[in-house]
Symmetry: D5
Subunit: 96 residues, 10 copies
Amino acid sequence: MLFHVKMTVKLPVDMDPAKAARLKADEKELAQGLMREGTWRHLWRIAGQYANYSVFDVPSVQALHDTLMRLPLFPYMEIDVNPLCRHPSSIRDDDS
Amino acid sequence: MLFHVKMTVKLPVDMDPAKAARLKADEKELAQGLMREGTWRHLWRIAGQYANYSVFDVPSVQALHDTLMRLPLFPYMEIDVNPLCRHPSSIRDDDS
Amino acid sequence: MLFHVKMTVKLPVDMDPAKAARLKADEKELAQGLMREGTWRHLWRIAGQYANYSVFDVPSVQALHDTLMRLPLFPYMEIDVNPLCRHPSSIRDDDS
Amino acid sequence: MLFHVKMTVKLPVDMDPAKAARLKADEKELAQGLMREGTWRHLWRIAGQYANYSVFDVPSVQALHDTLMRLPLFPYMEIDVNPLCRHPSSIRDDDS
Amino acid sequence: MLFHVKMTVKLPVDMDPAKAARLKADEKELAQGLMREGTWRHLWRIAGQYANYSVFDVPSVQALHDTLMRLPLFPYMEIDVNPLCRHPSSIRDDDS
Amino acid sequence: MLFHVKMTVKLPVDMDPAKAARLKADEKELAQGLMREGTWRHLWRIAGQYANYSVFDVPSVQALHDTLMRLPLFPYMEIDVNPLCRHPSSIRDDDS
Amino acid sequence: MLFHVKMTVKLPVDMDPAKAARLKADEKELAQGLMREGTWRHLWRIAGQYANYSVFDVPSVQALHDTLMRLPLFPYMEIDVNPLCRHPSSIRDDDS
Amino acid sequence: MLFHVKMTVKLPVDMDPAKAARLKADEKELAQGLMREGTWRHLWRIAGQYANYSVFDVPSVQALHDTLMRLPLFPYMEIDVNPLCRHPSSIRDDDS
Amino acid sequence: MLFHVKMTVKLPVDMDPAKAARLKADEKELAQGLMREGTWRHLWRIAGQYANYSVFDVPSVQALHDTLMRLPLFPYMEIDVNPLCRHPSSIRDDDS
Amino acid sequence: MLFHVKMTVKLPVDMDPAKAARLKADEKELAQGLMREGTWRHLWRIAGQYANYSVFDVPSVQALHDTLMRLPLFPYMEIDVNPLCRHPSSIRDDDS
């Protein structure tokens, strides 16, 4: 099941740079693991924003929520979730 | 170059059903042609909405605009465009 | 899987009363069938509004979308969907 | 009498983890007591959010307000209250 | 039980004047009956707006909803409801 | 002359509890004096919010402003003012 | 007593031009009478908008409301009212 | 040339009172100088708000900007600028 | 003097195509005349929108307003005006 | 390819003045280099705001994003990006 997720990251401007770097490295490692296993289907940076549009493929809403809660940057993110379904006009195999 | 596009369709509730059906059929045919040629990279229906999230792959902003203007449902749509770029954490080939 | 849905109905003020009555009767019949089969888990009227908060229990996002699209009042509704999951503090059997 | 309540929790990102843990434990204990006595009728987590949708069953508006004010997380929450009433289409015993 | 209600009236600018006058007369008659019986506790016009702030005193949410639905101008109003309770600083007998 | 005022109080979550208690006690004392003299005509708590709806009866806009500025919690409040006038449908003596 | 008023005019695009011209002429005549008597203290057009910022000088809220309701364009306007009082830094005689 | 300016002042609640007093005194002195020279044409306090509506008379946009930037409270203000022009219905000499 | 203007065109979906074509042709002719004389300094289409960002160079606010009011599409446009001034970091001759 | 960018700068009011001055000087130097090479096509200050409207000319979305990320003030800015294309009515050489 697919979910469209917008994540906007708001790190405090005075956060310790080492802590910020560690958080980002941890986030990247976890994200890439989720991509390899197919859970995090797409990840794009929105130009000019510290934000991304993502598509997740999960077996349930609970799995989506648990995945998002595990992200190291979760406490610093605004998250917007929209459930997706196949569009009747789509001819692409990977749109569902 | 990738662009994230949200389209929300607002047909007048009293539109002639035959006209609505023709518009939707024309839209579908054009959309599928654009998918076949790779311009309309992704198309998902947002659950519960007469709306979609799409990703377009175009050589220029002008090409994106010309494509959207050709859509038969364009006069009835609210369109929201966000330019995308590769996310440094993405490991997927098809995210750029 | 549970989804929280807010539906706000906006019938044109000059709609033919007979048509409005028929739409509402059809909506009621379909809604009650969905309640009997367990798909439409909860339905509450929001006081002072022609609007409701509902909870749907469906096997997939696609099933949710197809159900909402079948509602006779769908063309006249603004719909807002939020996926739900079990709250770790809930002790109620029927909250998931 | 039923009230629909949305609670969004905004803990300061630099809150002492022990204090946060204690607040959450106290909140959970109080919430479960209110569920056992039937006051907190439903509690669902909104996917991807530190937020919930709840339904309270109380004898009066005053009782609702007093209950919400007692929540340990109240000072950190944005709360949105909507009074509910039975929907004429509902056939479920527990929708009022 | 008290509820704060804001009503904003939006009559179509091309409504037949006789129909508008009849609607307003019916609304006034019903409103004054509700005031006499104590249900419609306060009614103030908001300066410069075709809108009012009101306070209703009703035995239940259902009674509030049924009352609002009976208003002849209901189909033309945007309604905003907020449940009220006694303020601990109030010393006025008629604030609850 | 009547004015409808909504006050939303936003105390910093880390305010010294003794200072907060003193501010609230001072606010209560001043508020009750204003109620006794008839300036603060109504005061209701909005359920689930640290906010109130109030009605002030003052001889001028200047008097309203001076009164609000004297409130000990003024620096922590968002205030929304709407001038009121008698509604032609009101039959209540105390609605003007 | 002074009130700041923003008026935004929204005439239907298909309004009969003769009717629109008559409404505007009537509005102008009434406005100029109110200016001559000192009630409509200031009137400025907002650049690029069919809208104005105005300042009214009236003996009461009721007088303000009655004046605005008499405007021929009232049914086509969105009106935003803010009560004004003398600013402690002002040295201008005509700012109160 | 006239510009309508809304200024909303947001001083941090924990600002040193002496610093706040000095800022306000400096602001007042500068404002009164600008009023004497005719640049700051009007200044009204919005009732119940730490905010004002002002009208500036300047030879150019640059002059307006430079004036606003010199205000001691500028770093603590939200500023909203609207260019004004003479309204065709105005008969007042000082409305342009 | 420079002004940044955003224009969003909202033609009724059922407008007579000949009338729409004529309006657009008239708009284009007037726009190009204003460009040739240097008043309409820049004009860009916003991708995916029936909207543009423009920069006007005018001797006064009044001249800006009169120019915008002459546009054949004015009754169908939402217009947003922001006065511009030279940025201290700009090194471009044509940015003022 | 052209992009319209609005940047709003929000420096903390208690930022060390030397740090703020250094950030602004670095920003200015980088901005002027980007203007000299033609990337930062236009830069205007919005009157009364610590904000600018800019137009960038870049070979790709990625180039735009990388450029914006390099700005020293990026962590303190809200950025709004809109892709532009040539307007069919423009006759100016430098509008594309």
